[in-house]
Symmetry: C2
DNA sequence: TAGATTTTGCAACTATGTTGCCTTTTCATA
DNA sequence: TATGAAAAGGCAACATAGTTGCAAAATCTA
């Protein structure tokens, strides 16, 4: 990556943090960096491995929690019970997420993708049930693995 | 519950286990009992609490795992990352689950329901992605909580 | 009912997540 | 650009969740 591109990335990261009223700290920059240079989602473990040498485990937990609260990342529920995190689009912010896309988990490479263009379907529920939020996770084989 | 009804229940449990080629043991009977007398799903913690005085934690883990493998129960992924388990319909069996219904988690009472009559929708995926399994979890307010 | 097979309990261990407290860093303002 | 309040990080200790190997106990087959 060119010096210019690196600079741009750092600027982008700082402004993203400031926009969310977060102070710009080294661990936040590092973890946000991980998300920005990544296509798919990251599991907590991934992040800890990639950022963990430099930061305490507790800091990673707290940083992710803060990012979720501020609408910077969102969680993706999976069948194997390992939370994954992915960047939100710009519409999400403090306290309110507006992610209505579905998620795809590849059974081969185990990568998790936000399919931003596939919106969650309307589900017709039995009388009495009132939907607030719909979560769809599709498991299958991804583009790269066929 | 009448003596007759209790007897019926025990018979039902034993034959369910035998049908899955499982030996009839006390812990399996107890845990299966919990599912049969229950409407919604059970979290691992629930089960451990209700059966745990009598059985070791490890036994609960192993029993649930066996039940999932044999198609007696299925897992339900949730946003808070606590696996829940619910009874399968009869079509599920050794190694192959055929649950195509959606799940509902109540944000008030935290109960989880299998909505057996609501089938998972067909999701149109971007070119290249191949779906094998679709998981839908709706969060909202349940029948009893409104 | 005996013996092979399966399941269980126990102990020890790893992984995951949380909390309190003190130190360090950040940021606003002087 | 120096200063101090406020926020964030690191550390230690703890709590909970899940796994493994092995010997004892229960189940099933014949
Ligand atoms: Mn997403
Ligand atoms: Mn179900
Ligand atoms: Zn893949
Ligand atoms: Zn409810």
């Amino acid at each position: 990556m060119s010096k210019q591109a690196t600079q741009d990335m750092e600027t982008r990261i700082a402004s993203l943090l400031k926009r969310s009223d977060l102070s710009v700290t080294e661990s936040r920059r590092k973890i946000l960096h991980l998300f920005l240079e990544q296509t798919g989602a990251l599991a907590h473990g991934d992040i800890e491995r990639k950022a963990g040498e430099k930061f305490d485990r507790v800091t990673v937990y707290r940083t992710l929690q803060t990012f979720v609260e501020k609408g910077i990342i969102h969680t993706i529920p999976t069948a194997d019970n390992s939370i994954r995190y992915a960047l939100c689009k710009d519409e999400c912010s403090g306290g309110h997420h507006h992610d209505h896309h579905i998620h795809f988990v590849c059974s081969q490479c185990d990568n998790t993708y936000c399919l931003d263009d596939v919106v969650t379907p309307d589900i017709k529920l039995p009388k009495g049930y009132q939907a607030e939020h719909v979560e769809v996770v599709v498991e299958g084989v991804c583009k790269n693995c066929r």
